[in-house]
């Protein structure tokens, strides 16, 4: 039993909750906008609708599918034995507290200056930072860390490829045909089905274990099909109202067709919010869960204890709070700046990105939703789908990788030694 834990356990937990909420708030305030911005920019949903969708589905994604990534951040990156936490468990607490504080602070600084920063990269950098410098190089499960870093490169490429093929299918089945409107009305319901089915399928197969629910594969398949069909039904109802109006199509022959895709994009907007919630909530509550685990067990470590419900609620709630208080402004700004994205492109990018992120979430890999979406958009661009793309954004993303990891690590190290000095 660690003395420090016994003495300060409650304080640690309260601090962890505050920092965790702070971090989740930051995610909601700054990062959600990247997931929802394309839907607003393509004029498929209004800002109010975006906020509503984000609130519901970010929370749902965090709650239903956020368990695996939370587990990774909480205990997958640090080797508990090698770090010697059994002897001094308070070090893990200091480390996780400083990681949260560091990532949250960096997020605040970067947002204030308008720098694009990945919340995922920040927290991972912070955790690796304190572990390497504060404890020892061996404290880190390097295999896991390298696979996470690799996924940061792989996920945008993967979503790019998926987006490319989705868009090509749209071209072949709908846009390039002699009656695009008719074919749009015919095929879009199937795309809607795919959105519901894929998200549900990945979540069911991979993600619900932390809730104590473990479905067999056939059960998951059946339920996912059910979700898909429900979405398809809803979509078909919404599509009924869309008629081909000749005057709309005078200036741009495809106006009515794009309206049909607009309905599809409502569903992909939901899937983006869900995917983002599933992957990014862990950035805030992973460390919190680690601290909670240590404090509750009085300094002993259970190999894989369950994720308490209240922690997920805190994380989801923080995201929603950040979104309601600040995030909506960022969504509005992004939506205003994107003027030339049409729903037929937007949905392809969003579906590809959401799928990639949800698969990553299910596999317990923290990825950057923003970068994955950028990859998807580039994929559509490669299919000649977008009028103009700034490739220097790719360069800027590389730079942000190089900057965020060391900065997150450095700030985390500073806070780590600060906590160590205060409490030890």
């Amino acid at each position: 039993m660690s003395e420090i834990i016994t003495q300060y356990g409650t304080i640690f937990l309260i601090l962890a909750c505050i920092f965790g909420f702070f971090m989740a708030w930051g995610v909601g305030a700054n990062d959600v906008a990247n997931a929802m911005g394309t839907s607003v920019g393509a004029r498929a949903i209004t800002i109010k609708q975006a906020i509503l969708i984000a609130m519901v589905f970010e929370f749902a994604g965090a709650y239903l599918a956020g368990g695996e990534v939370t587990s990774t951040i909480r205990s997958g990156i640090i080797d508990i034995e090698k770090a010697g936490f059994a002897d001094s468990p308070e070090l893990l607490v200091y480390g996780m507290l400083s990681s949260l504080l560091a990532a949250g602070t960096w997020l605040l600084i970067a947002s204030h200056n308008g720098w694009p920063v990945s919340t995922t990269h920040s927290i991972i950098g912070a955790i690796v930072g304190f572990a390497v410098v504060g404890i020892s190089v061996d404290a880190v499960v390097w295999g896991k860390v390298w696979s996470i870093v690799a996924s940061w490169v792989v996920s945008p490429m993967c979503s790019g490829i998926i987006a490319f093929f989705i868009f090509r299918s749209v071209q072949k089945l709908i846009l390039d045909t002699s009656d695009p409107f008719k074919n749009a009305k015919k095929f879009v319901p199937f795309y809607i089905f795919m959105v519901g089915f894929i998200i549900a399928m990945v979540t069911l197969v991979k993600g619900l274990r932390h809730m104590g629910l473990d479905f067999s594969f056939p059960q998951s398949l059946a339920m996912a099909v059910g979700v898909g069909l429900f979405a398809m039904l809803l979509g078909t109802l919404l599509l009924r109202g869309i008629k081909e109006v000749p005057t709309d199509n005078e200036d741009f022959h495809f106006s009515s067709v794009e309206k049909v895709f607009g309905v599809l994009m409502i569903f992909t907007a939901c899937s983006m919010a869900f995917a983002h919630g599933s992957n990014d909530v862990a950035n805030a509550i992973g460390p919190l869960a680690a601290v909670n685990g240590v404090v509750q067990s009085g300094g002993q470590f259970a190999a894989k204890s369950g994720l308490p419900l209240w922690i997920l609620l805190l994380g989801g709630g923080g995201i929603v709070a950040g979104l309601a208080m600040w995030g909506y402004k960022v969504i509005a700004t992004i939506g205003r700046n994107i003027t030339e994205l049409t729903p037929s492109r937007g949905f392809a990018a969003e579906l590809a990105a959401a799928t990639t992120v949800v698969v990553a979430s299910g596999t317990g890999i923290p990825v950057s939703t923003t970068h994955t979406l950028v990859g998807a958009v580039l994929g559509v661009g490669l299919a000649r789908g977008i009028g103009a793309l700034n490739l220097n954004v790719v360069g800027r993303i590389f730079v942000s990788w190089v900057v965020t990891l060391p900065v997150g690590a450095s700030i985390s190290i500073v806070f780590f030694f600060l906590f160590k000095a205060i409490f030890s």
Binding site: N34, G37, G114, L175, D176, I334, I338, G385, N390, L391
Partner: protein, 224 residues
């Protein structure tokens, strides 16, 4: 500095190029009114119209410079940058040519011989139709982008360009006939005037040629 997502989408040159073509064609349309004024020897009105053409041509130039300035190498486009810029240049020639014709005729207060007026009127009209067709073709650019420069839309545009070629061929035929008629009259007209009349006939024909070239450039764009 915006987030990666909003920074990712650049300003597409497609709409500006369509706008530019609209202005260029407007110059061609104005030329028609100029010609009518010159036929009735109303040089005051002709001057006003020539100034309007000049203003429009300046607008076109400004728009052209703007598009060029906003197409850095780092911008990823669905079609080659050079093809777009050359299309723009060719469109610009249309506006220039209209301005040149008006300027030349105004400067010499050129009078078209009575017996040729009707033919010249028809000849200009044919060139104008070619320019109008080119405008129609260019207005399909955003639809081409929508379909990713593939499929049925490409077939549609190719059809429009074939019509454009036909219209230009028409003007070639008319030009030969018009020249022949002038040849009959040239003995009875001041020689210098005759030379400039031939020049004006050539230049009105050039309007159709440039229009055809616009169509040709677009085909190249689609093909790559």
């Amino acid at each position: 500095m915006p987030t990666p997502i909003s920074a990712l989408f650049g300003r597409s040159p497609i709409r500006p190029i369509q706008e530019h073509m609209a202005i260029a064609h407007e110059c061609v349309e104005l030329l028609g009114r100029f010609l009518e004024a010159s036929f009735i020897k109303d040089w005051d009105t002709a001057l006003l119209i020539q100034q309007k053409i000049s203003d429009s041509e300046n607008n076109a130039d400004d728009l052209k410079s703007d598009v060029r300035a906003k197409l850095p190498k780092s911008l990823f486009l669905p079609v080659p940058r050079t093809d777009l810029l050359e299309l723009l240049s060719t469109q610009d020639k249309l506006a220039d040519k209209a301005k040149d014709i008006a300027g030349l005729m105004l400067g010499r207060k050129m009078e078209i011989p009575e017996s040729l007026v009707e033919r010249v009127r028809e000849y200009y009209e044919e060139s104008r139709q070619a320019s109008k067709q080119a405008l129609k073709v260019i207005n399909e650019l955003d639809e081409l982008l929508e379909t990713g420069f593939r499929g049925k839309e490409v077939e549609l545009v190719e059809g429009l360009i074939a019509e454009l070629d036909e219209l230009e061929h028409q003007t070639d035929v008319s030009q030969i006939k018009l020249r022949a008629k002038l040849f009959e009259l040239e003995g009875s007209l001041p020689p210098v005037n005759v030379m400039f009349l031939y020049k004006i006939i050539d230049q009105i024909g050039d309007l159709a040629d440039i229009s055809e070239n616009i169509g040709g450039r677009l085909l190249l764009l689609i093909a790559r």
